[in-house]
Amino acid sequence: MAVRTYYTREHEWVRIEEGVAICGITDYAQTQLGDVVYVELPEVGAEIARDGEAAVVESTKAASDVYAPVTGTILAVNDRLEESPDLVNESAEDQGWFFRMQIDDEGELDELMDEEGYQAFVEELD
């Protein structure tokens, strides 16, 4: 199955790899936040509903909630962010991923934006 990436209006990305969702915040979001200093990650095993609070990302001046883009169960979190929150700034959509989720209902993905849609969404904001 090909890798597919989806985006939310809350500036999260979801990449589906072998049926598992990998989630993080977008490059646009990290530039808006500035230097990320801390990421509070969910507990492995936690079940989170779509749009439920899954993580908190903090810069020196702001703390923002990160919501689950889809309903599911947390399988793993990116432990490297504990020591190196700067990964979110340097590689938001790759090394700076937040957590992996088992998705309950893949149908929920259809309601998210694709890359093109998200680019258009961001351009409207600027």
Partner: protein, 439 residues
């Protein structure tokens, strides 16, 4: 009026510049009828001498502790404050400065806060401390809510020997935040079994060290019992000088220490302002309430200090903050840290030893009437009759004999108990006078 420098000439010139006919015109947005045409019904302004005279008369209607033998404690203690402390905290750059949000011109405040946090860690045996809170009681209440956040539970088990004002302060938060606070009955001679009250719902156990009645006990086993159930141990200290002589709570497995720091550098002042000390473990750092000062570097690479981890606080997180607190006890923490710096390692230990020796000396004179088996500088005495009555009578004779337990535990059947504190300010004559008065 001596504090108001704008002259009549200034005022008319400025009004002209603004284009307003009068000062009153600037209040045009105040609704009809709500703008007072005349001064309110209070006295007119007064000169410095007059104000000082009137307030001095009120002060003279109070009996100052220094006027005779004095033995009150129970959360506020009379210690000697070195002259340098009061001089230094009144330097205008400290006294009239603001919260150090502009670190380039607040390094003085920030550096002493950094030193203060370090001193609090050393005294308590903990890993991280904040820049102080309102007082010991609010620090203790915040410790409970922090334990609730850390454990995601909502029941605190509270020792019956916790100072009732501390218990009640936490109970107020419990009522409005909807968590449970289970406090046991007071046990003046100690021996409380708290471990058996911890269950899987318990977020923390709150104990006091030394406790209200002066008891000191080892909480190591209690810490283990709490941890085994996933709960935290909160240790409250109301007499911080005790930690110059006693094993620190951090060595006994405490997860949070909430203390009153008034004893160092700060006058009793009828109970306020005091300063809350708050220390915890590094792993819970981000759940701590209050301000934190941290070390960093400036644009030229020089060591400097800033308030940090501010995203926990109300001005950023607003309704998601760890607490609504936005004040520490700045000047009180400065007094604390200066006093402790003057004392140093040797001075603090000597001070604590003096306090304990005085208390032991008094306890020896009172013999079997002392209820408290092990204590630091304060213990409980059982009198033949009502302690409040005895205290009132002795006050008439010029002795402030201590705090009757009934003042803090009314109607608890403890009316014959008296809390007696001895510090380095208590001398041999004072001890003899109280021993005789109570005999």
């Amino acid at each position: 009026m001596r504090y108001l420098p704008i002259t009549d000439a200034d005022r008319s010139g400025m009004l002209q510049a603004i284009g307003a006919p009068s000062v009153e015109a600037l209040f045009a947005d105040v609704p009809e009828g709500a703008l007072l045409a005349e001064p309110v019904d209070l006295p007119r302004h007064a000169g410095e001498f007059e104000v000082e005279r009137r307030l001095s008369r009120l002060a003279a209607r109070n009996r100052a502790a220094g006027a005779g033998p004095f033995f009150c404690g129970a959360g506020s203690y009379r210690h000697h404050i070195p002259a340098a402390v009061d001089y230094l905290i009144q330097r205008g750059e400290f006294l009239t400065s603001y919260t150090p949000y502009q670190p380039e011109i607040a390094q003085g405040t920030l550096q002493y806060l950094f030193e203060f946090q370090t001193q609090v860690c050393l005294l308590t045996g903990m890993e991280v401390a904040n820049a102080s809170m309102y007082d010991g009681a609010t620090a203790a209440a915040e410790a409970v809510t922090m334990a609730n956040r850390v454990t995601r539970r909502s029941k605190a088990v509270v020792s019956g020997n916790l100072h009732p004002h501390y218990r009640d302060t936490a109970a107020t938060l419990a009522r409005f935040q909807g968590f449970a606070l289970e406090a046991g009955p007071p046990m003046p001679a100690g021996g409380e079994d708290l471990a058996s009250r911890i269950d899987d719902e318990t977020s923390c156990v709150v104990v006091q060290y030394p406790d209200l009645f002066g008891n000191i006990s080892d909480f190591s086993a209690l810490a283990e019992a709490a941890h085994a159930k996933g709960a935290l141990l909160v240790v409250v200290v109301t007499e911080i000088v005790a930690l110059g002589a006693l094993r620190p709570p951090g060595e006994m497995g405490a997860d949070i220490v909430a203390a009153e720091g008034q004893s160092l550098g700060n006058a009793m002042g009828f109970g306020g302002p005091h300063l809350g000390l708050f220390a915890a473990r590094t792993r819970h750092m981000r759940q701590m309430p209050g301000r934190l000062c941290g070390e960093t570097v400036d644009a030229d690479g020089r060591r400097g200090y800033v308030l940090t981890l501010a995203t926990r606080e109300q001005h950023i997180r607003r309704e998601r903050a760890t607490s609504n607190i936005c004040t520490n006890s700045g000047l009180c923490s400065l007094a604390f840290t200066i006093h402790l710096t003057l004392l140093g390692e040797t001075g603090l230990k000597r001070l604590a030893a003096l306090n304990h020796a005085g208390a032991v000396s008094l306890a020896d004179r009172l013999g079997a009437r002392v209820v408290t088996p092990a204590f630091f500088n304060e213990f409980t005495v059982r009198l033949a009759g009502d302690a409040a009555g005895a205290v009132e009578q002795l006050a008439g004779e010029g002795i402030l004999a201590g705090v009757p337990v009934s003042r803090l535990h009314p109607g608890a059947g403890l009316d014959d108990l008296l809390l007696v504190a001895v510090t380095e300010t208590t001398d041999e004559e004072d001890l003899a006078a109280l021993a005789e008065a109570l005999s």
